[in-house]
């Protein structure tokens, strides 16, 4: 069971046990992590689950699809480490993953 950590914009940490196969967004929503809206429910269609993946994990979370790139293009405060949490599927390989939350979702 991989562990993941969400760090809110104000520094509050949420260390969670997650089931492999779930998306990073689903884990946040199931544990009521504030700051992830996930309006579209995981369809890569709204960009309200924007997170910053910790640099050391960026190579392991998989590549962005064209759609994710398009959606992130219209999000606020986008950086190189920006991802949509609904597009990252958890596995044993991602045990220890750290994701920071932006100040707000647009």
């Amino acid at each position: 069971m991989p562990k993941v950590t969400f760090i809110e914009h104000n520094g509050t940490r949420h260390e969670l046990d997650a089931d492999s196969g779930l998306s990073l967004m689903e884990v946040a929503v199931a544990n009521s992590v504030p700051g992830i809206d996930a309006d579209c429910g995981g369809a890569c269609a709204c960009a309200t689950c924007h997170v910053y993946v910790d640099e050391s994990w960026l190579g392991k979370v998989g590549d962005k699809t064209d759609m994710e790139t398009s959606m992130l293009d219209f999000a606020e405060g986008v950086q190189d480490s920006s991802r949509l949490a609904c597009q990252i599927t958890l596995s044993a390989e991602l045990d220890g993953l750290i994701a920071q939350l932006p100040e707000s979702q647009h």
């Binding site: 309006d39 890569c44 269609a45 309200t48 219209f74 707000s104 647009h106």
Partner: protein
């Protein structure tokens, strides 16, 4: 001999469950005017969720009626194009007003990005104090205990003030904004009766002239965060003024986007709390439900009934053969009542779980850019209403507009009761 004018009534509408499916035309604006559209869409979701209407006043069109199918079409902009047309009726070729909601990438992308800074959460946080002040002033001025039209007193005025702020529009002329907004949405292309294209053009020309002057003024001033200044100073849009129809198109987009939609959700909220009085009780008992209620209001109202796409290639979708060039209409008003995605969809439930999971803002690259402005206005309004009033009582049936696009109200008769 003069012919009698026939005003269509609700009883002239075909029976939703017995009309042959190939004769089913859910784009008939009278359905929305009389609030009778619900059963027609319920039948389509059940019997033919991707439905082809071969013949209508708008031409042939596909209806996409289920939540997840709408998400799929809305997020597939490579096949389902927004180019030139985003409402069911085609724009008039001799009065084309290009706007970024009706463009595909890359033009859509850079025009949208140019104006987005006006409505980011950070920018809105700076505006919250001002908006609250104005809401308080409007509410404190409301006549208590007498019959008033909520639309004119609150819904229209509040959204107009917000829009004037986002454009940094001369405040004393702000009533022009909803006037232009109504002129642009009251079009034969969405089934509105009794208007001609000529009248519409004349009014929109005034809008263009007025904003042309504002543009010149903003271009000469240092950059600011209002829509016009952002467009006038962005390297990729600074020449938009040289294409007056494109300038007008984007003005219409920003005016309508920030006007009709929130206006009608503000009115809708009052209606729903009256039709579901237990929810009003819940709200009185716990005002921390307001942010969740705001999403539920936006779902329940669905201020824009549809968006239209045009297929760029032949595609099989849910077993149906959509052909290149076909009109594809995503009925948000139906997706928001999809029983398979939303629990008890015909009930207004202010503490609904996952209330944000609705299609009113659309999905994909054209998703509503002003969603946070809308939510903020509704939230502040209800926070201040609950501090002041026991009840906004609906005292008659609302009057609805005749359109298959804008779902809204002209008259919402209420009596405001003090605490």
């Amino acid at each position: 001999m003069a012919e009698a004018i026939q005003v269509p009534t609700a009883s002239d509408l075909p029976d939703p469950w017995t009309v042959p499916l190939d004769k089913m035309n859910v784009a008939n604006a009278e359905l929305f005017k009389h609030d009778k559209h619900g059963e027609y869409f319920r039948r389509l979701r059940k019997e033919d969720p991707v439905h082809y209407c071969p013949d209508s006043e708008f031409g042939a069109y596909w209806s996409i009626t289920k939540f997840n199918d709408i998400v799929a079409v809305d997020s597939n902009h490579k096949v389902f194009s927004s180019q030139d047309n985003i409402v069911i009726g085609d724009a008039e070729p001799e009065f084309l007003t290009p706007m970024f909601i009706a463009e595909d990438p890359p033009k859509h992308d850079y025009q949208r990005k140019a104006v987005t800074p006006a409505v980011t959460p950070g920018q809105l946080a700076d505006l919250e104090g001002l908006i609250r002040q104005r809401v308080c002033a409007l509410l404190d001025d409301l006549p208590v205990g007498e019959r008033i039209n909520w639309v004119e007193h609150i819904s229209k005025e509040l959204t107009t003030q917000m829009l004037a702020t986002l454009f940094d529009f001369p405040f004393e002329d702000r009533h022009l904004l909803p006037y232009w907004s109504d002129a642009s949405t009251t079009s034969p292309a969405v089934g509105a009766p009794d208007v001609t294209y000529e009248q519409r053009h004349e009014i929109l020309q005034e809008c263009l002239n007025y904003f042309g002057r504002l543009w010149q003024e903003r271009a000469e001033q240092p950059p600011k965060f209002d829509f016009i200044s952002l467009l006038a100073h962005n390297p990729k849009t600074k020449d938009m003024i040289k294409d007056p129809m494109e300038f007008l198109g984007n003005l219409i987009l920003l005016i309508v986007g920030g006007n009709d939609t929130t206006r009608n959700s503000i009115s809708g909220g009052v209606i729903f709390l009256n039709k579901f009085p237990k929810e009003y009780d819940k709200l009185r008992a716990d005002v921390s439900l307001i942010p969740n209620m705001v999403s539920e209001i936006i779902r329940f109202q669905t201020p824009l009934a549809h968006m239209r796409r045009t297929a760029l290639e032949d595609i099989e979708f849910q077993g149906k053969q959509i052909k290149k060039g076909d009109r594809v209409v995503m009925w948000y008003v139906s997706g928001n009542r999809d029983e398979e995605v939303i629990d008890r969809p015909d009930e207004f439930i202010i503490d609904r779980d996952k209330a944000r999971h609705h299609v009113s803002f659309g999905f994909g690259i054209h998703r509503c850019m002003g969603n946070r402005v809308a939510e903020m206005q509704l939230r502040i309004l209800w926070e201040e209403i609950m501090k002041r009033f026991h009840k906004i009582e609906l005292v008659g049936e609302p009057e609805r507009v005749t359109s298959n696009f804008v779902l809204g109200y002209t008259d919402v008769p209420v009596i405001v009761h003090a605490k």
